[in-house]
């Protein structure tokens, strides 16, 4: 018996040459980010950012002398009907087999998204090399421009940048975190429509500023003033099934995240309720996921949502002592009012302008039905724009930071 095993091993050893499917690491070219643009005719233009391992390893190891600096990334682009065929065509120009195994980000341009992404998503989902955990970004400029001009200076590769950006989204909640799997499921589902974060290269200089003080982050990606011409991840693109139907500014996305329960941390500026003309800064945290109840017995569905927010005082330039109980109550009421109004405006906008339920109210409505047939017949997608929505904000300022009492300055 052992002889059989040994013999089998030896036979296998002989067939080591070119054994099926084994690919050395230096036979592959790793694509780190994938971009899709509208191309001529029915085609799309696929852009691939390929990593240059020599340079990356050299940078990390700190070895190597001077000489001309090679780029860590190579951007190649071609035109084809489907993303996967573009991917295959690139192999014509390259000496190595292209691999999508490490493609962490898919960047889709806005005009392509507005036409409908259904065709392209299908091939991405079927291919075994693509990740379900890649991040999706919708770019307001052309994807190829964005990818070429996106040069983060703190990271060696944009792959890391795209992954780390998902972390920073949690700090400001001005853009949603969407992975491919969630996006794809959303395009096929009836109860929650997908959103995707917007990206752009910085367009503005320091010319403008936010329109109202409480609309912090009220820009679309690329419009926020900044002195470095870098990429900005801000705002959201709203989809209905697989077509993009509109955009949300960063400010509105904050309320979107609140209503879906995905806001981790955010900032807000409100006008000072006691002192005119001044502002108060608070940071927001969500205490628990919002409680949503949907009733479907009448003609128009009725949705009631209750969000739980816990702000913390961050800055009180007016010197008013908001730590005191009465004044804190006033502040809380002011904040709750602003949040409630903004949420209602946002929901109204999705109902009238976009006609798309991006908050996931539909998944709560499913509880009222017994079988899938009934749910299908009810057709939430049509009923949602007529729904009555009622939003409650439950707010309590928990902490005031390091200062317990603000002593007013002598005026």
């Amino acid at each position: 018996m052992k002889a059989v095993k040994v013999l089998a091993m030896l036979l296998l050893m002989i067939s080591l040459q070119g054994c099926w499917g084994s690919r050395e690491t230096d036979e592959l070219a790793y694509v780190l980010a994938l971009g899709l643009d509208r191309g001529p005719g029915q085609n799309i233009q696929g852009t691939f950012q390929i990593a240059n391992p020599k340079v990356i390893a050299g940078q990390a190891g700190g070895g190597g002398g001077g000489g001309e600096k090679e780029e860590p990334l190579i951007t190649v682009s071609t035109i084809a009907p489907l993303p996967i065929s573009a991917f295959n065509l690139i192999n014509v120009e390259r000496s190595r087999q292209i691999s999508l195994l490490h493609a962490n980000a898919y960047i889709i341009s806005e005009d392509l998204a507005r036409e409908g992404l259904g065709n392209y998503l299908n091939s991405l989902n079927r291919f075994r090399e693509t990740r379900g955990t890649a991040f999706i970004y919708i770019s307001r400029c052309k994807a190829i421009d964005f990818m070429e001009r996106n040069r983060p200076d703190l990271e060696t590769t944009p792959a890391k940048q795209y992954e780390l950006v998902s972390r920073t989204f949690r700090l400001h909640a001005l853009a949603p975190v969407v992975q491919f799997h969630k996006f794809y499921t959303g395009t096929k589902s009836r109860d929650r429509q997908p959103v995707a974060p917007l990206v752009n290269i910085t367009q503005e200089d320091f010319a403008g500023g936010p329109s109202r003080p409480e609309a912090l982050g009220d820009f679309l990606a690329g419009d926020m003033p900044s002195n470095k011409g870098e990429s900005q991840f801000l705002g959201a693109a709203v989809f209905r099934m697989d077509k993009m139907v509109g955009t949300l500014t960063g400010n509105e996305t904050r309320y979107l995240n609140m209503l879906t329960g995905e806001m981790h941390f955010s900032f807000m500026i409100i006008p000072d309720p006691i002192k005119e003309g001044a502002v108060v800064g608070v940071s927001l945290k969500q205490a628990r996921k919002p409680v949503i109840k949907v009733s479907t017995d009448r003609e128009r569905p009725r949705i009631s949502a209750e969000v739980f927010i816990e702000p913390e005082l961050v800055g009180v330039p007016s010197g008013t002592n908001y730590e005191d109980e009465k004044q804190m109550g006033a502040l809380e009421a002011a904040i709750a009012g602003i949040i409630g109004d903004s949420c209602r405006q946002l929901v109204a906008r999705t109902q009238e302008e976009f006609r798309s339920d991006i908050f996931g109210f539909g998944s709560h409505a499913r509880k009222n039905f017994l079988t899938v047939q009934q749910w299908r017949d009810y057709d939430w997608l049509d009923k949602y724009p007529q729904a009555e929505v009622d939003i409650n904000v439950n707010l309590k300022i928990r902490r005031t930071g390091l200062m317990h009492k603000t002593v007013s300055t002598v005026n």
Binding site: W20, T185, R190, S363, K367, V372
Partner: protein
């Protein structure tokens, strides 16, 4: 060697459970989801009940003649010709299961892990390993199952918990899925068609008696179906049943979604080890059962010489389907339509005949 090996309850239960679990790694959950919608877990529970009933049926067949497995009982009750026919049907059922399983497993491996390997390599590997496993014997298989079971269990738990950030419990509604008829009747029938009970009835000589048989099989069914139920639930709450039906391999797709920080992602290849092992055990066990059945039918002393021809037949059978979707169709046809014959109908006949015989002739030998 048969009849002299006895192993304990733990090993037998684990062996049967692992063999039952093998189908949840393939396309079976997808078919279940398609049939029942979000209520796939209810179908699975129904199937569990049906399987336990099946275990009872076999228990009643085996109880009056301890020390004999179903092959001997068929021979005894039905006489030579009918008994031989029945046993050959059993054996060919096992062989068909082994062949189809090898094929679907190899296809799954090609899709997921080894895209450029020709399928004949994988098929050959599977069959050779099945022959090796059956050759070494049931004892070694049971012990290896027992040995690797903690790893398998922890791997599955890791997988299911690893996608927990993506759980959305709302997706379980509507509760009754595609309608009670579909969920309970059809879904229950699909998931309840298991080969393990018939298999256990063939290897029953290695258990310590028919009571143990009942305990072992019911426990194995409970555990195996629990896995199926839990997996169905997790599938639905992670994907939503709409998109979950699209995946060829739902389990693998779950593994692809694990994203716990930058380091621990795309670790689905580890699960290849787990499910490769389970697949090998299942095919080895089924091949062993087929060989043992035939050896019992023709009253041979040892089943080992039969292994090579049966392996060849299984290999030939696994190449028959033209492509993966037709292999899957064959499999579901096998499960839906054919499986009830050898696992329920024929044993019922055996039971009735043996009862009638007993009642009608106490002076008859047997």
């Amino acid at each position: 060697m048969d009849g002299k090996i006895k192993f304990g309850m733990a090993e037998a239960v684990v062996l049967l459970t692992m063999s039952n679990m093998a189908r949840i790694f393939l396309s079976f959950p997808r078919a279940l989801l398609e049939m029942s919608g979000p209520a796939a877990w209810l179908s699975s529970i129904t199937g569990m009940g049906l399987a336990v009933l099946q275990a009872y049926l076999f228990y009643h067949i085996l109880k009056p003649s301890p020390g004999q497995n179903i092959v001997d009982i068929a021979n005894k009750s039905l006489g030579n010709i009918a008994g031989t026919i029945f046993n050959i049907i059993f054996a060919s059922f096992f062989l068909a299961v082994a062949a189809l399983f090898t094929r679907t497993f190899s296809e799954a491996l090609i899709i997921t892990a080894l895209p450029s390997t020709p399928i004949s390599v994988l098929l050959t590997g599977f069959i050779m390993l099945a022959v090796l496993g059956s050759y070494i014997g049931l004892e070694a298989m049971a012990r290896s199952a027992r040995l690797t079971y903690p790893f398998v269990l922890s791997g599955i738990a890791l997988l299911l918990l690893g996608v927990s950030p993506k759980w959305d419990l709302q997706q379980l509604f509507p509760i009754l899925g595609n309608g009670p008829v579909n969920v309970f009747a059809m879904g229950g029938l699909i998931s309840g068609a298991v080969t393990e009970i018939l298999l256990a009835a063939v290897i029953v000589k290695s258990f310590h008696g028919p009571e143990m048989f009942l305990k072992i099989t019911s426990r194995a069914m409970l555990m195996g179906f629990t896995y199926l139920t839990v997996l169905s639930i997790v599938l639905v709450i992670t994907h939503g049943w709409n998109t979950a039906q699209e995946n060829t391999l739902p389990f693998y797709n779950l593994a692809r979604l694990i994203y716990l920080g930058r380091f621990f992602q795309r670790t689905e290849s580890i699960f290849i080890i787990i499910w490769g092992f389970i697949g090998m055990i299942k095919v080895a066990l089924t091949l062993y059962a087929a060989a043992q059945t035939l050896a019992g039918t023709f009253r041979l002393t040892d089943y080992r010489p039969l292994l090579w021809p049966l392996a060849l037949i299984a290999y030939a059978g696994s190449i028959i389907p033209h492509d993966m979707p037709s292999a899957l169709r064959l499999e579901s046809m096998l499960i839906r339509e054919v499986a009830w014959l050898p696992t329920v109908a024929l044993p019922l006949v055996i039971l009735l005949v043996s009862r009638i015989r007993k009642r009608s002739g106490p002076n008859e030998s047997g």
